[in-house]
Symmetry: C2
Subunit: 453 residues, 2 copies
């Protein structure tokens, strides 16, 4: 019987299907797709260049559409939804959990959204409207409303008999919730705890009452941090009156953590984390032009600083050769601090009480680095250019710029958070602009003062 | 009874404890710590400046040490372990799951490692040695060996009675494994499925035989991708003979996904993702000096390119003012592509079959961006400097550099992967060096050819 146990699919197998597809062996591909799980098919679609996706989608069994759509990233899903007519889409969405349903519906263009809603049966439509009523990125928007509740006064034996009336429990069920007659949460009991209980015990005696319930309005990143900190598999969501409204499961939390990581990483590189890896050329180029425009502005600003010192530069061309060193080091040092603070804020380590400590520490790191690299660069450049005066100017500018970089790297994300600006996206550009300007101004300014007089 | 349901702790509450600590209200702090879960205490320690951590650790109940150590990040844990004597440490490690035990032990200095091992009882020592025998970052190193197995021929009723012999199931149990007499995996049955089965059914009839089992040597990032793709809560780990060796649980996968995200983000900013946010100044400065050194090398290399054109620069100071624009744009455009490819590789979207497609696409994006920004910058600079010739030179250099940036941004991570170099750390520095050199060389070289003759 062991034969049915499979080793998981790995990226190598991607190549097999892609080759079959490219050779036009559609029947073969269709058969392979039928044997794949929805998650694997979604992964295959995301790994395929945009033209292949259309062909693949035609070869997939329409019964699987819903489960596959659920697993796709926003960008890829949008492209595929445009291939479907509203009826098929409505049918595909029927079996989705409420949070996933809202997630897909939220991104639809308005006309399609209305068409799909009209095609749904009344119950699904109500469910969709309810799920859509919670603000995006809150606990409400990622909870699902399918879960099992118990009363406290029944015995475990009765619970087990009640559960056997189901053919299956709602997806991802690991815990049952105990509520009073007003649907207020009293406690919970995990399946792992349920199955070791004496059948005669009552739910009241067996349940865990030390439950942390998520408020409806908590932000999804804070929810993710809580899951991570407590190793939860699921958590109940309540309103202000402790009424049980839904349940958040770890699979959605994993998606949030992944997306957050990608957002910060891509943000550091001035990329929209929604960008589909295999999007068409023009789509990609357009998406990236925003930050290239901002950067051109920043680069022109830096150039206008140098422009103030045209006279100095024309007298001493060596300065032009050396003037990129200080801004470059400042950019790196500042971004290091910036990344540290952004990570600290993302995992909830930085509150008002320790922000000042951190700011002081990073300013000191900047001062220390400034001293260290001032000495280093002074030695190297004095030897290279045979002038200790140029070395001195460069060292002083380096010290100033790295000190500013440390302070700015810590201050920018803290200030941006207060202003509700996302530091993962805008922080690094703001920082580099500062370190470029301060670096050029201090180096060329000091050169003008010291070397030309 | 609802009173015992708590709202989760948020960063605001951090401030309360920190203030109490700073005011020397130790008894009060100790009482607050007693009411906190291990995950919350770990989070408090990680959010505290290094001097406060020592004080906090003294106030924590030693019975909680093990569970707290498990939740701490490597850097913070190392600092705290240095405060503990080997006996206490051995005692704290006793109750850990095998994978967490190996995780903590692996990082200990050799002398302390041996001392701790000597202090352990025989059974724990064997367990530790076994767990340590699997290479780091493989499925083996993150699996734990505490799980429940069943035989196929018994009835569900017997299983339930067997489970009731336990006071509790191993941590994170959501699935029971069915094995034959050689401990080979035959299938599994989730607790959610177990509780809805008719008690008279046999395990053989109830179990799921379509199980994907993780090979022992699979990399932990691939394991994480599988969990994410299939929404698993746990997965069995087998050897080549399908013998069941362990079980990976989602809590460890969440840590891997979080760490990977931090690694890529911090890597883009040239930061070691192990760096503790609240480390002392000198520790931080030392950790960051490696990439600052590398960057100084890269900046000097760029300066030596400009140095080749000293004559040109001394004749036309305007060139010095404008020469930073092209490298800056190339760096941004290249890093955008780099980030996209690194993310694609991390989630397993990029195999041999689509790498060429992606490389071509990104080269085309580079060409297109190059054209677009060449025109933009030519217009802006021609107007600013009143010379269409300088505009033309800048435009040509921009086109060359952005084309190279697109190609290099895609090629660098693909090549680095083949060479087993981590592109998240080294990729961005390699790329910036290329775009700086190509940008300066093409701009100053073309200027020398066109403007000076």
């Amino acid at each position: 019987m062991t034969e049915s146990i499979e080793k998981p699919r790995t990226p190598d197998q991607l190549d097999t299907i892609t080759q079959a597809l490219n050779s036009g062996m559609f029947v073969h591909v269709r058969r392979m797709l039928q044997q794949m799980r929805p998650g694997d098919v979604a992964w295959l679609l995301e790994s395929s260049p945009s033209p292949s996706r259309k062909v693949l989608w035609q070869l997939i069994d329409p019964d699987e559409y819903g489960e596959i759509l659920e697993e796709l990233s926003e960008e890829v899903r949008d492209g595929i939804i445009r291939l479907m007519d509203p009826e098929k889409l409505a049918a595909a969405l029927e079996d989705m959990e409420s949070d996933d349903l809202a997630y897909v519906l939220r991104d639809l263009p308005e006309q399609l959204f209305n068409q799909v809603l009209t095609q749904m049966d009344e119950q699904d439509r109500q469910r969709a409207k309810q799920a859509l009523s919670y603000p995006e990125d809150t606990a409400g928007s990622i909870m699902n409303t399918e879960f099992i509740t118990l009363r406290a006064d029944v015995s475990i034996d009765v619970v087990l008999r009640y559960l056997r009336l189901h053919t299956e429990l709602p997806e991802g069920t690991d815990t049952l919730y105990v509520v009073d007659q007003h649907n207020r949460l009293l406690g919970d009991i995990s399946l792992a705890s349920l199955v070791v209980q004496d059948p005669a015990t009552t739910v009241a005696d067996a349940m865990d009452t030390q439950v942390e319930a998520i408020p409806l309005a908590m932000s999804d990143t804070e929810v993710a941090n809580l899951f991570e900190r407590h190793d939860w598999l699921s958590a109940p969501v309540v309103d202000d009156d402790y009424q049980l409204l839904g349940r958040i499961t770890i699979d959605d939390v994993v998606d949030i953590i992944r997306e957050e990581g990608e957002h910060s990483m891509m943000g550091m590189a001035k990329m929209d984390d929604d960008e589909d890896t295999f999007a068409p050329v023009l789509t990609s180029a357009r998406r990236r032009s925003i930050w290239l425009t901002v950067n051109l502005g920043s680069a022109l600003l830096a150039a206008s600083v140098s422009n103030m010192f045209e006279e100095t530069l024309s007298q001493l061309a060596t300065l032009a050769i050396l003037m990129t060193i200080v801004p470059s080091m400042g950019g790196i040092a500042g971004n290091q601090t910036l990344a540290l603070v952004i990570r600290g804020m993302a995992v909830g380590h930085i509150g008002d009480s320790n922000a000042r400590w951190l700011l002081t520490k990073e300013a000191l790191v900047g001062l220390f680095n400034g001293l260290l690299w001032a000495v280093m660069v002074a030695i190297v450049v004095s030897l290279w250019k045979g002038s200790w005066e140029i070395g001195l100017v460069l060292a002083t500018a380096m010290f100033i710029n790295l000190s500013v970089a440390g302070l700015a790297g810590a201050a920018i994300p803290l200030v941006m958070r207060k202003l509700n600006i996302d530091p993962a996206l805008a922080g690094s550009m703001a920082l580099t602009t500062i370190t470029d300007i301060v670096g050029l101004f201090s180096f060329l300014g000091l050169s003008t003062l010291i070397l030309l007089h």
